[in-house]
Symmetry: T
Subunit: 146 residues, 12 copies
């Protein structure tokens, strides 16, 4: 089983960016932890980060037939990107949306998600551990159990 | 470690209510699974269901000092209850919000959560497995790890 | 054939509450008239009143398999209760929504109905006679005629 | 006692138009049934259909002194016609609004009624039988009973 | 100089319709008074009433080259008719909008005018005398004085 | 009969301010014309201009018992002043609202009037002649004719 | 193959009405050009114009079984008519919506279309040529090619 | 003279709940102080707390004939309960609304009050002393003095 | 202890202005009563009225160091004045907002308060007695008791 | 004559993405058909696809002086991109907006177009044939015929 | 070259009012610095402060012919004053809007500017230095350089 | 001291794009002028332009530790990019937002700025000179003077 973790804009700054809100871990460290957790579950984990809406759209389009599931942290694009929503809707690969912080407890324009409607589900607010939970959720979903 | 799972209105009907949307398991079966998972983690799990906004508010108020963490599926009250939000805000016990279905993919009035802002985080869309993920998330949160 | 009439908040005050708007009959008198009308149609009529959103949700959940049809006057909850809407949607028992006054001719926040979308239809504005009409409508609906 | 049933735009297509939503009966058949029901109640029933907002406004204006009550299915004009609302408000003849389908369960722009505020009450969702119920409601209203 | 007074829906009921709001004069009496006033100013006054949006649109289209100015009381269509607004905008004949009552002191949906933006100006609230003032205003406007 | 004409902010600039929109006449010239017209009608006309919301409120309060009618051009305060609306509502002296330009044909925030609801009626779009029409309207209103 | 072109309010004024926006051709000339183009495609073209919402609704209702396709320029009714939308939805005859000008580049209330949702597609902004394109589009659609 | 003080959801937590916002006093202590103050005024004070919207509605309904005045702190229900508003409107017993904190200085959804429109007046922002002021206000109101 | 009572626009008309809504007392009588009540509490009461937003802003600015507390009835400016809100926010002198009528039971545009967010609290609906209650509230607040 | 066809995000997936909505043709096949059609009209057709908002903006900027006309299918960026609108507005090259599906019949957030206001016109709903129609429209527009 | 700096409500309190937000300098000190800077540029600087909307409107009206440019800090009136906007629009003297704090980073009702649309440009967020920049901007603008 | 000037979409077209609105200078010329002005202030100026939201986000992220201050003209992204706002918020480098035209005097969707809230301040409306002023503002801000 192969899973791709997609990370949106500014997430390459993790560890330096507002640590009170996003924690002190870098994205590399977080992704390494997700990979190790994948190894335990027998799941191969790839990851990718881009600040570019179009690059993320392209990546999602390339997943068909090469990847079994997606974990997507769309960051700021959660609230503005119809293109990402369309990309997910067009894709047969199931996706889990993930956020490091609890966006419901932040500014009003972060309370809705355009992309979430095209995902299996959403996990947010647990810091780096949100990714681990998403991996568990996706593995469970792909196993076809209820 | 002791955790209380609170279930809101209509969740007592699980298994009979729109199975295509909510699955065929009853609430009792779901809660039993959460308990078993708690046993594996060394966490004692209690649960409670009420159709009554006031009864849920009361339960949350009673948690102080008796329970280490809350898992709350506010169901329909997610979108209308300032009282539950106030109860969570008034409580020192951390809470994880859970939904069986992905509310972002349903009617517009289900796209926001009044209660979520007073929780650590939110997990939704994974059916009964949402509760298991919430238990993992809460246990991790209470352990103080990042 | 068995029908349950559910009455929401403040309806226990009928006869004393704003008689210009709601008439001088008490709820007991109204329900007795509905029962007599049911006797003529060969329909057994039970009724229930609660000021409690949760108690009404519970009653609706209990109808499955015990009652053939519901007449619901959600009163103030018409405009605020997602929980009642969910309860109706989860129930296989057909429901007719009823209002004593014409809510379209009152304050703006009474012009919409959250619960109505989960009912067969709606009857309003005819005072106590709204219930009699609802009984006729429900009996007709249950008879399967067009 | 004399009652006029007014039918708005596209209702002349009943029986052919989206039968899943509006049933297989033609308007002529429906109106014949209303007439027969009127005969039982000793009420003379006339009917009229127009796709024209102005023709409906004119008809309502002509009712004063010639008709005892109105049953109006404004169809699409329910949601857009201030002119029909004004015509009803200007008329001393009481009116009952009727809809074949439950408009609360359809598109958002059908959830409000401009005309309903100028009527005694509203009945909707019971197919052709909505008219029979409206006739009963109007006869009861005109008899001055509560 | 020739002027046409156009009257919209329900204005044929003047004198019988809500006299407290619209006065006891009939439309015929009002128009006769406008005509007499026109005679004093040396202005020929024609008038027309229709409940039909389309008929009013047609009349406005016919004015080009046959009439020097328009007085329009669009009544209910004031608030809903883009077609009348387009007709006025397409016409080289200047128009004054008139209302018998002060629409700003009535229901919220009467506080705006779609048609007014395509007129020279608006006069409202002075009962039948609003038409006389509009005639004066139009005559003054057509005379090219400031 | 004594009438006061109240002019709001920036109207002292008439003649210099955007002549394409407001004409080339000064306020003094306009008021002199209103006075002459008043002489013909046997009405004494006083006038007052202020850029100050409070000064206009005070003037309206002083009218009780000293003035028979008001003509008010609230200018920019039309759209923002609850204080002027309250002053008019508190006053037994009837008022006619006047605008030089047709505010419905300008920016969206000029399409509503807070003050108009507390007036007898509104006249706008006829340049300086709007005041003459208002004087006629007020004289007619005060004469008690319909 | 037989096609009906329906033209809404004020389109009979084409050629005289705001030529900068709508061009100098009359409707008769435009329709003659559409007919000639139809001859080339082997399509019989009929046309009809009305300022009347109801007359347009009636025409659409009559198309069933007599016409293969509709081209509709609803003009002002595009933005206000639920009745036309219902007529189209009730009709089995496919329709293409057409506008002479680009309504997205005009006033805000012209940016949405109520009728377009019930059509196959929409073509706008190409002047009289919009009709020719619509004819091509409809012929292609009816031929069943992709 | 007998007065009932009704306290809504979460107020049983006073003293423990966000003391920076609500103070360190418990509800029991606050109510005891209100009682003592009532003794000075010769007013018997009863009190009741519930987290349940329905229980509060029921209590208000029972006041007719047994209580002279109500002091209501609806807490979270202030902003969401049409049922409490209806209960107050249906009751002949005058009510004063009270809030411990100044809700205008908190989140946007706390800036309006549904219940306040059915009360004599509102007092908020003075901590526990808000109740004492409400008692004074109610006693004064019931004494019929201005 | 010295307290200033600030009264906004139109309050100088009290006693003559809509007595059904505001009572028959003049502002002078009301202020005299507040003064007498202040004498009992050992509080010196000054008062000021202006129709002028700017004059009220100036007065608030002058309070620093000369006055211990403010009672402000902003009247119409409650709903429109950011300047008064800024003045209060800039001032170290605590303020209590007061209204004679219950603004929640009046027009929709009176349901919010811009100024209230910058005050300690708000008292409204008790006629002239609202000021007495505000004096009590302010004295209590300044005494530092809870 | 040289024309550039610009395709926005996710259009590279055509043929695989939701074929029920977008058809079974790939973008390459569609573009080849447009090219062939261009050959018949004597128009050279180039095409470009990007998921990147910025890349599309850049392409539009490069068209000045090298291309005679643009056909743009902005896909998801239709509804969110002010940058594409600005690029079109800054460009002297005329553009026709194209959509494969009828966006008016889809989710509410697809009912408006930010980019359309900067185009000559819009064609949508005819599948791959929308491009052919756009080519015809653009060729006609560039030929300067009406 | 002569420039007038206009300062709106509460700015006379600078130095004492919320120094964290507005700095510790008084308005006199700020204006002295602007004057000194003007001396360097060969520009005579006058200044004026008023809490009064009307006084500011009057000042702007007096500038015509006596002053070459305006710097305006409308403070709270930025967000509420149509009268100031009209005054600026009526004036031939170019104006630069200035704010000490960055209003985009404050409460939502401070995110828009009514007055800014009638200015050359806007400078905000640089404390007292905003005025110096505005002086530079205005001098540059008046010099006619690009 | 080192400063980076970031220019958003379509700004590479300056000089050719709508010169009436943006002036005749190219971006290269503008940036050269900023550089020369930087030389005078002893500030090294780098610049960068991209049509790509992601590329701008990346550049902002790279500034940490390499650049002392940012000048950002986000152009169209001002109104739509949460990603740029997040990038600025995540960065310790202070930023000044700049616009060539006065966006408050353009279309409604340009009246707000998502990015401005994460900047020190905003300067707009002065053409190319806006950049010079921003450089002065930033240099002053970085010098720590008030």
């Amino acid at each position: 089983m192969k899973i791709l973790v997609l990370n949106g804009p500014n997430l390459h700054l993790l560890g330096t960016r507002e640590p009170a809100l996003y924690g002190a871990q870098t994205l590399e460290e977080m992704m390494a932890a997700v990979r190790r957790h994948g190894d335990q579950l027998g799941v191969a984990v790839e990851w990718f980060q881009s600040n570019d809406e179009g690059a993320l759209v392209t990546k999602i389009g390339e997943c068909r037939g090469t990847v079994d599931g997606l974990i997507l942290n769309p960051a700021a694009y959660t609230h503005t990107s119809v293109a990402l929503r369309d990309a997910l809707q067009a894709s047969p690969v199931p996706c889990v949306e993930v956020h490091i912080s609890n966006t419901l407890a932040r500014e009003g324009f972060r309370h809705t998600s355009l992309t979430g409607a095209a995902c299996v589900g959403q996990i947010m607010g647990f810091g780096a551990y949100s990714y681990i939970l998403a991996l568990e959720a996706l593995a469970h979903h792909l196993s076809g159990r209820t």
